[in-house]
């Protein structure tokens, strides 16, 4: 069975800082990493392959040429194959156009059993690409998956986290799931994996290589447009409550009673 993992390269937010003078994000020297949720997706794909004792894990990303580094990292963890979808025509895509292009990439990869995505990317935080991709591939999906209970030849049973518990959902394969942090602990790359990843060929597919309508890719294919970006005002002044623990608690309690 082919398992496809979609991953996104994102700026490492642990290093993103706000410039206090211009009130803008300082991205200089900020490293790029695999979106944290996608690490769980890669790990889950590897575990499923290992438990099946057969199959192939392919990692797929759409992004600028630099995103190749993230695919290589996934290969070093143990993924079998990586493909980068990169073209000027894909740039500026919103979640619909991103899912459209990814769907074309998945179609070109051939028959698959399962697509795994992270719950959301930490830069955009939309959580929309997974379900949108499922729709465009015409397969069932489950979001917020915290556990794969079982996987047999033609179906997968997963636990999906809800606000007050979880649901057990059975999906006929092929299907798509988006996974949470709770699902596993991603492995570290092995030395052997790193060596292999270093030498691996990562094909780059552009618009000519995919069965896509350019008008539906990238910015041109994005129904939504960002018209304004601004930094939220941070005029917040922290009122420090002084005194002994008892005194502090007294003042805070009386303030809280005003709010609640």
């Amino acid at each position: 069975m082919q398992i496809i993992v979609c991953l996104k390269q994102v700026p490492d937010t642990t290093e993103v800082r706000i410039n206090p003078e211009t009130n803008t994000l300082m991205r200089e020297g900020v490293a790029s990493v695999i979106n944290p949720f996608d690490m769980y997706a890669i790990e889950e794909a590897l575990r499923i392959k290992e438990s099946l004792g057969e199959g192939e894990v392919t990692v797929l990303s759409m992004g600028p040429p630099q995103a190749e580094a993230s695919l290589r990292e996934a290969l070093s963890m143990g993924a079998d194959k990586a493909v980068l979808l990169s073209d000027r025509a894909f740039a500026g895509a919103d979640s619909l156009a991103t899912a459209y292009t990814l769907a074309a990439g998945v179609a070109k990869l051939g028959e698959f059993g399962l697509v795994i995505c992270g719950k959301q990317a930490i830069d955009g935080d939309t959580a929309q690409v997974g379900p949108s991709l499922a729709e465009q591939l015409d397969v069932p999906h489950a979001t917020y998956v915290r556990k794969v209970q079982s996987l047999e030849d033609n179906k997968i049973v997963v636990e999906r986290m809800t606000e007050d518990g979880y649901e057990v959902i059975e999906l006929a394969l092929p299907a798509l799931i988006t996974v949470l942090k709770d699902i596993n602990q991603p492995r570290l790359p092995s030395l052997k994996g790193k060596m292999r990843a270093k030498k691996a060929e990562i094909p780059v597919w552009g618009k000519e290589d995919l069965d896509v309508d350019e008008k539906l890719c990238g910015l041109a294919g994005s129904p939504t447009q960002v018209v304004k970006i601004f930094t939220p005002e941070r005029t917040r002044e922290c009122r420090l409550i002084e005194g002994s623990a008892e005194e502090q608690a007294k003042v805070l309690a009386s303030e809280l009673k005003k709010i609640i």
Partner: protein, 390 residues
């Protein structure tokens, strides 16, 4: 395709725009700004340029906007109970409908939901599209997506709002893809621009460090998911009149099914709907610290949250985690106890209305987002606070 254009005669290569670009998409080469492929055309650079060297390229001739009218709300229900965010959406939908002079529609799928449908009218819906069928009792991605997409294509609403809940965030992208329209996630602000008539949807990105305003100019409906607790719930008016339109179930070949729905967590874990959240971090030292925290939560009638450090240490389960790899919350009151305030945690809670920080390190970043700060030992302050509240 529109893009950002650099007027090379005006550009001085000062690099101010590169500093302002939230995406790091501008490089300065040979003393001129160069827009790279990762540009999302957000326009942040245009305002930053003192020389007027940056502009948006003219769009291709716009295709006509499809006819549409009405502001719709998806009335999510779980176990027959309408989700609280629905009333907030109805309140906002009424405002938007008044500014566009249109009607408010509510879409309700479920089983034996007649009373709930009447309630939606009392809370502001002019028309309720009701699909009352036993197979719709529980949420089902394929079934609900098919029914909602069919209804949208039939009735052509101008705006479609859903709660940014587990269900809303799964259903909305599927429906948007089927209908072929745009969708904005997790909005915290909505307004109709009086000149263009377009819905301006504002949402946080980069963990709340920047805000983006997004439009959907040529596709309908303009779809958005909205975070719970952001808007005021509509007042109930039992005298309001409205119409209920009964729908037929669509015929769908289902490829997935719900085997079981389990409520497993204690009352204090529904962070999404909680007005008050008391959260703990590394400073609570162990599970016992969280027991103390639960007592405080109980005294306040709130839910218990946690930082990633506390969850990773195994002191409390993952559904309690607030922050980038956990939940994003915006309660009325957030009390952070022994949480230093790493940027990933702040991303999940900085939009709370009032933030209280209790931490022994006065330099902890949590104090930068807090309204009230107590520098002190959580094991002294929390018990004292519980006594005061009782």
């Amino acid at each position: 395709m529109g893009g950002i254009k650099v007027d090379l005669d005006l550009c001085t290569g000062c690099s101010v725009c590169a500093d302002h670009c939230p995406f790091g998409a501008i490089e300065v080469k040979d003393d001129k700004a160069v827009i790279t492929d990762i540009c999302t055309i957000c326009g942040a650079c245009i305002d930053s340029c003192s020389f007027g060297a940056l502009s948006r390229e003219a769009e291709e001739a716009a295709s006509p906007v499809p006819d549409s009218s009405g502001v719709w709300v998806f009335a999510e229900q779980i176990g027959g109970a309408i989700a609280p965010v629905v009333y907030e959406l109805l309140g906002e939908a009424r405002k938007l409908a008044e500014s566009t002079g249109s009607e408010v529609g509510a879409v309700l799928f479920g089983s034996s939901m007649q009373d709930a449908a009447n309630d939606l009218i009392a809370y502001g819906a002019d028309r309720v599209y009701l699909l009352d069928d036993a197979i719709f009792a529980d949420y089902h991605d394929e079934l609900y997506a098919a029914a909602l997409a069919d209804l949208i294509q039939e009735e052509k609403p101008e705006i479609m709002l859903l709660g940014a809940t587990t269900i809303g965030r799964s259903l909305a992208p599927r429906v948007a893809a089927r209908v072929g329209t745009g969708l904005t996630a997790d909005c915290t602000g909505l307004a109709v621009n009086p000149e263009t008539g377009l819905l301006e949807q504002t949402r946080p990105a980069f963990g709340g460090n920047i805000m983006a305003t997004i439009i959907c100019p040529r596709h309908r409906p303009q779809m958005a998911t909205v975070r719970p607790k952001v808007f005021q719930a509509a007042p109930k008016d039992p005298a309001r009149k409205g119409e209920i339109v009964n729908l037929k179930s669509p015929e769908v070949a289902l490829r997935s099914r719900l085997l079981e729905r389990v409520r497993e967590q204690a009352e204090n874990v529904n962070l999404d709907e909680a007005d008050i959240i008391v959260a703990g971090g590394r400073g609570l030292a162990d599970e016992k610290g969280f027991k103390l925290l639960s007592e405080l939560a109980e005294a306040l009638g709130g839910a218990v949250g946690a930082s990633r450090a506390a969850v990773d240490a195994g002191w409390i389960s993952y559904p309690h985690q607030v922050g980038q790899t956990g939940k994003t919350v915006s309660p009325k009151l957030y009390i952070a106890c022994g949480i230093s305030g790493a940027i990933q945690h702040l991303a999940g809670m900085q939009s709370a209305e009032t933030i209280v920080a209790i931490n022994k390190n006065p330099d902890a970043p949590i104090f930068q987002v807090a309204h009230y700060g107590i520098v002190g030992d959580v094991f002294e302050v929390i018990p004292a606070l519980i006594r005061e509240l009782k």
